[in-house]
Assembly symmetry: D2
Homo-oligomer: 359 residues x 4
Amino acid sequence: MQGNGWGKIFRLTSFGESHGAGIGGVIEGCPPGLEIDLDFVQAELARRKPGQSRITTPRKEDDAIEFLSGIHQGRSLGTPIGFLIRNQDQKSKDYDHIKDVYRPSHADFTYDQKYGLRDHRGGGRSSARETAARVAAGAIAKLALARLGVKVWAYVSQVGTLALDKPYAELDPALVESNIVRCPEPETAERMIRLIEQARAKGDTLGGIITGVATGVPAGLGEPVFDKLHADLGKAMLSINAVKGFEYGSGFAGSSLFGSEHNDAFVMGPDGRVGTATNHSGGIQGGISNGQDIYFRVAFKPIATLMRKQESLGPDGLPTTILPKGRHDPCVLPRAVPIVEAMAAMTLLDHYLMNLARF
Amino acid sequence: MQGNGWGKIFRLTSFGESHGAGIGGVIEGCPPGLEIDLDFVQAELARRKPGQSRITTPRKEDDAIEFLSGIHQGRSLGTPIGFLIRNQDQKSKDYDHIKDVYRPSHADFTYDQKYGLRDHRGGGRSSARETAARVAAGAIAKLALARLGVKVWAYVSQVGTLALDKPYAELDPALVESNIVRCPEPETAERMIRLIEQARAKGDTLGGIITGVATGVPAGLGEPVFDKLHADLGKAMLSINAVKGFEYGSGFAGSSLFGSEHNDAFVMGPDGRVGTATNHSGGIQGGISNGQDIYFRVAFKPIATLMRKQESLGPDGLPTTILPKGRHDPCVLPRAVPIVEAMAAMTLLDHYLMNLARF
Amino acid sequence: MQGNGWGKIFRLTSFGESHGAGIGGVIEGCPPGLEIDLDFVQAELARRKPGQSRITTPRKEDDAIEFLSGIHQGRSLGTPIGFLIRNQDQKSKDYDHIKDVYRPSHADFTYDQKYGLRDHRGGGRSSARETAARVAAGAIAKLALARLGVKVWAYVSQVGTLALDKPYAELDPALVESNIVRCPEPETAERMIRLIEQARAKGDTLGGIITGVATGVPAGLGEPVFDKLHADLGKAMLSINAVKGFEYGSGFAGSSLFGSEHNDAFVMGPDGRVGTATNHSGGIQGGISNGQDIYFRVAFKPIATLMRKQESLGPDGLPTTILPKGRHDPCVLPRAVPIVEAMAAMTLLDHYLMNLARF
Amino acid sequence: MQGNGWGKIFRLTSFGESHGAGIGGVIEGCPPGLEIDLDFVQAELARRKPGQSRITTPRKEDDAIEFLSGIHQGRSLGTPIGFLIRNQDQKSKDYDHIKDVYRPSHADFTYDQKYGLRDHRGGGRSSARETAARVAAGAIAKLALARLGVKVWAYVSQVGTLALDKPYAELDPALVESNIVRCPEPETAERMIRLIEQARAKGDTLGGIITGVATGVPAGLGEPVFDKLHADLGKAMLSINAVKGFEYGSGFAGSSLFGSEHNDAFVMGPDGRVGTATNHSGGIQGGISNGQDIYFRVAFKPIATLMRKQESLGPDGLPTTILPKGRHDPCVLPRAVPIVEAMAAMTLLDHYLMNLARF
């Protein structure tokens, strides 16, 4: 109800501040009897964790997950899965300097306006550290989707103004993890890494775009009219820290086409199933999956925390100066890839389960 | 639950097929004692209705609304507001030819896949006629927001490749209704109208972009972490027929900026309230409104129904040909402006009410 | 969210005041392709309607239902089913005398306290007329349950102090409709009818108890821990006007037994399925159905509207006198039987559908 | 959605099996800035914990709670409050004997039917140990209600056939904790204790009734028509393990009264506020609180686990014998008092907050 949950059937309710005891959540609706590969879950968390490479924050968090319930002898019980990821490498003192100042383009001011108080250390609840819970639940969702033949993957397709201009279908998912920026085109990846290193050297930050893909999604998922599949995918992505935009299929570019160019003609596939000749629809028509690949793009703004001096105001309304001391990412994109995948996986599994609730 | 409702406190549950008895809904959570200006509600519906100008479908629907409950002596009772808009100008025979064919990029195929049957006439539940219920509920939401000093407006900012390249702040909301395409820049509006007429002459269709704006929104609205204000606005827009993308504030373009360019410095406003020097944030930080203007852009694909011959498949999987006989819009944008406003108004009011649920 | 809906998957959202345009609702989650027997729905409404016998209010309402959507060629589409039952026999003037007085044990005072205004005519939203929407939706639920082999029935088991002391299993469901009080034991029924007539002659009213039964419910329905099947059945019943208590299985009496008396031993049934020797559990163990009959009892208070003079207060806090002029039931029980059945049917179907949402 | 949550605004989502890592939950919607008295929370848990007296199970659990988020410097942040109560005194081996047998009137059979597998140790998710999470969240709710002047209390009013026949208004809440059975009438309490000891000596168990009371509840809480205040209170109570019935105000007994006896006349109170001369309504009219005391009764069945031999069936359908070895309560009532209070407190606070969501 109040913003801490995602999904209706497969549902994550999350909790946690960046400098409290930990981050965690409760997963409801996981199908019973599912083998829970704990190593896989931990590996997914490792893809998101800080300190994983030279282009992420040097802050170290193992992000070791402890499952508290809902799993017995390696299999899900159908009961809620509670889990906890304790915070470790907290240098709360690093944040004393922002106790009395609103960091530009951060949530300090708005949390104060909404709640009347806030945990200023590391951004508290507004910290992207919260997304660890999403990745954990998303890993469980991926395990369930694997049994259904659904695969979700994502990659960095743009950093700053440097864009990879190949469509997803020409890329090899296996290459995403071949480099630290998570772009499946090695040469572009190298250039992106250099760009990020340059920005960091200047104490500046970069935004970019992540492309997400889901294959093997059966036709029929999505609930008209308000819970269209792409509407839920869009909300899922927009709920991730720093996201400013979402488009699927032909997206914004598609609005410049004529209908005669944009329409996807139905064709009979070699497998005897109805398919489409093109896929401007992005695998979704009328809010319901049509069995084709689903693909979408997510725009991230540059991170607000600069490693340079900025002017701002304090809660008292008086001007002040900030010079961040914490350890921060110059570009959130590489670590956001598993988050995008996790939100997509949870959303697709939730819609799959919802679609079963008929006879 | 199953996709027919929008909002948590202020909530619309809608029903209706394009060729059934009518379209309608139930509005819950309308604050009690609100004066319901029925003429205003009807006027909003008139902005969406077909046949309103020479660039919309010639289909005629009065879209006369009947309120069935929840209003007594001109004021809301706090109880659910039921309403009904009867369908009138139905030429169901016009749709006999699509009973046995899947129209490209329509929802015919996916509805069949999901439900096993469908009302083929006029698209049934997948018809944009469903949005009349949204506009009705949105009009009530606007009346409530007016009491709070919140104003929502939208306009067509692009048709096909023809874009209005002025920011919203330089435009006059009063001019939106000065022309039939709903672009507040008269000269561009004229060019858009001509473009639409040319497309129609060729039996083709056009997409475009609508920009939405909300002013007077108090700081503090939005529920972290999954129900961020912009995430709900995004889902609201993506749930509208034909929408392919959503961005707010700096949006996709913002992902190319450096953080040092993108950050909005806090400044003390002349009214003694904290404001920002720029507004790349689009009035939302950390998912919570900061008191600045909220603005966003919504991408619409070109309408799928062409007035020309198309090849397709039928439910039997065999090739067939379609030549539409119905009456259709060449460009949905002008009629979608009140829909965008309605969804934004409902979303903002809902978040306003949710934010009251604390002490 | 705000109290006008029932169910999660199969969900009714209702609207309507007793003296407004009508009563109606939206049914979501009805399985697609279900044959909708309109005569059956209307017949169920006839069991609830006023004026059906000499022991109910003489007010006349046909309660003719109009379906507005979601049904095509006699079958459900899977899309929301909107419906409307127009109010007809409104003598709103009959209620002018209660505009400025709070009727004892009615909702006049509490609605004023909550909303600041109310539609005083006939009780407005607090009128039991609202339950017509429940019966309509319950009829649809019964049609769906019939396909699953689940049968729901109820009967009047007590009026005032006159109780039928046979267990449900010794009664014949076919006899419920054999008399106007809906007690399947003809002799007791006669005595109940006389009791009601005597109370009416004195301008007084009677309460009583309705017993509900569900047979054929498969094992496995119910969602631990908060949405136990009996917890939802209990809320369903307690939400009906005038209900003061709910018990299932052994109920209140069971709390006086020893565990050694109360436990239901598991036995192998003749059909090779696990059953129980006794059924103190009322067909539900740990909140989940066990395949045995579900049975429960619902306590109704005597109706608050007396046809005699009562002292009360007005909104101004000053003493005043009421002498009702409307047309009222001396005992709500006979008309409440289909309401109890409807709420039980909706609840069971909803849980059945929820239980499908796993793999 | 799937039964692990309670409340809409103030919402607990719980997790945990009796023999897993622990029991815990996430509390959403706690008003920000509330002082969280951790000692009070722990004291409430102590009222529920096993091993607290000679008439409860000798099993020892400290039920030490760890708060994981949502509290900073002793005050609630408005963000979700995660908490964990680790399981300690687990003798899982004690349950090996029930791995392959369905205990009569337990949830073993139904969990197997629903999920296809279960954690048999200690009942897993169906164990009443789950209610520790309710008591923790209820304690937070009580702290919030205290700021509003609302007080919730409960007591054991019947054990087996031994009933305390004084109305709540003649009892002293301060005496509830004066004895180990939690009956505020010392003499009756002694007799109840003896009764429980006798039952235990025979390896048998007892049920009973708990009466709950809420004072200081403002008029206006409750959401017509499905979420009537007493309907939610009823579901809250029915969701507690072993509960078989719920009644409020005059309850089942009220159904035997005439309307002329049952109606509560409105009177002007000495404080200038509208009150009622009697309170058969139990403080709720039309589903909305009227400012009078709310009171209700909850029926508990005798606990199913007997310390004597019972016949039953195994998952293989073959007859078998059980002789429990675990440590169990002979009567759940004394430990259930804080659970009843917790569920009532959460429900009232939730409705209070929901009622704020209007203007």
